[in-house]
């Protein structure tokens, strides 16, 4: 399973999104849009799970905001941090 698929599964499972399957999340769709219905409180959980699962700490939610735009941006952020 590639990084983007792992992120989609993580979001659906950890945020208890009942009516959307991981493969229904588009790589470039906004995570905090109407479809997924996520908000800034969910962002706290995503940040926590990213650190727990991938060992990438997002200390600052401001810093994390661009990374949390979409699956594409989050995957790119994690890959960049892991190669540093």
């Amino acid at each position: 399973m590639d990084l983007k698929d792992r992120l989609k599964r993580m979001i659906v499972e950890e945020l208890n999104i009942e009516d959307i399957a991981p493969d229904q999340i588009e790589d470039d769709e906004p995570l905090f849009g109407k479809k997924l219905g996520l908000d800034s409180i969910d962002a706290v959980e995503i940040v926590f799970q990213v650190e727990k699962t991938f060992g990438v700490a997002i200390r600052d939610m401001q810093e994390g905001r661009p990374a949390l735009q979409s699956i594409n941006s989050l995957a790119a952020y994690i890959e960049q941090r892991l190669t540093q």
């Binding site: 945020l15 208890n16 905090f32 996520l38 908000d39 800034s40 409180i41 969910d42 706290v44 959980e45 940040v47 926590f48 997002i58 200390r59 600052d60 939610m61 401001q62 810093e63 905001r65 661009p66």
Partner: protein, 333 residues
């Protein structure tokens, strides 16, 4: 008209504005250093003050305190202005911009159209720097955004005169005198001393480490006392104040850790590096509290995510922070 002003993104608006304004006048200072010197770190649980009908919890000092302390200790002169009339407030802003002076403004962030809707809610303590005007739009260095923003006059006016708790009332400020040298190291020590004293020795139960413990004791009572729905709202508010509002995460604890790291090098005090690491660990613990809180608010709490668990974590935050401040204070004597 656009002032040649270097925009640097930061985590927190007031410390970011402070650092950027000083940088404009040739003082090289990071956001974390501005936050630390300004004694920005704090804790207060103030249930008698309501924001959006929910009790106020603050992880930072009083609004404007960072800027005021730092400019005073550095010997900078500042002009502060408040207004009753919005048109006069905008005219005063225009005059300073025409003079080539960048102007700090306090605003209600909700009314700034460039804020993403998902992150927008009523909060009247948002600082930004206006650095220019082109027709009906102002050019804004908003430190929590990566690039310069533009804002229509009517939107900026509305934001400057947002209503509600801590209404900004058109507050604007700008530097009028900057000395050639500033007492940097002594100011670092001053800032540390104030934070330690406030966190350890403020009278009453609601402030500092005593305040964290007081909140901890309240949190586990909330579901029974307030009902699940209202308890969730209380926790949501707490998380937002802690993780979202330009805190740099962990209720400013990560930012203060960065300050201590810089201070360790500047003051040649390696002990501060150890305390910086401990502060980062405290921030991680605060974040753990936020995650459990978020799960409760969103109805996905597991068996280990109880309100009692949140209380335990907060108690540990208080213990760890108390140890840090007790070790920190002697380093600046």
């Amino acid at each position: 008209m656009k002032i040649d002003f270097e925009h640097r993104q930061s985590a927190h608006c007031e410390s970011g504005v402070t650092a950027n304004l000083l940088h404009h006048y040739g003082i090289d200072i990071s956001e974390a250093m501005a936050f630390g010197i300004g004694a920005g770190l704090f804790f207060g649980y103030l249930p008698f003050i309501k924001i959006n009908k929910l009790p106020l919890t603050t992880f930072r000092c009083e609004v404007g305190g960072i800027f005021k302390r730092l400019t005073r200790w550095f010997g900078l002169q500042v002009r502060w202005q408040k207004f009753r009339n919005p048109e006069k407030a905008m005219d005063a802003l225009d005059r300073k911009i025409e003079e080539g002076i960048p102007v700090g403004c306090r605003t209600g962030g909700y009314w700034l159209p460039y804020f993403p809707p998902a992150f927008r809610f009523h909060f009247n303590m948002h600082n930004l720097v206006v650095i220019g005007r082109e027709n009906d739009h102002y050019i804004i260095s908003d430190p929590v955004f990566p690039d310069l923003e533009r804002c229509h006059r009517k939107d900026l006016m509305k934001a400057r005169f947002a209503k509600g708790a801590m209404a900004p009332r058109g507050t604007m400020y700008y530097l009028t005198h900057v000395p050639e040298t500033v007492p940097f190291d002594q100011s670092v020590k001053n800032g540390i001393r104030i934070v330690c004293r406030r966190m350890l020795h403020t009278p009453g139960p609601l402030i500092g480490v005593k305040g964290i413990r007081y909140l901890a004791r309240q949190v586990k009572k909330w579901p029974e006392k307030l009902g699940q729905r209202k308890a969730s709202l209380y926790v949501t508010q707490l998380i937002r104040m802690q993780e979202e509002l330009g805190t740099g995460g962990g209720g400013f604890r990560f930012m203060y850790a960065a300050f201590l790291q810089e201070a360790a090098q500047r003051l040649q005090a390696p002990g501060l590096q150890d305390l910086s690491d401990k502060m980062t660990a405290a921030g991680d613990l605060w974040r753990e509290f936020a995650v459990i809180g978020a799960r409760n608010c969103k109805g996905r709490a597991g068996e280990n995510d109880s309100y009692a668990a949140m209380t335990r974590i907060l108690m540990e935050c208080a213990d760890r922070e108390e140890e840090i401040y007790r070790k920190l204070l002697p380093t600046v004597r």
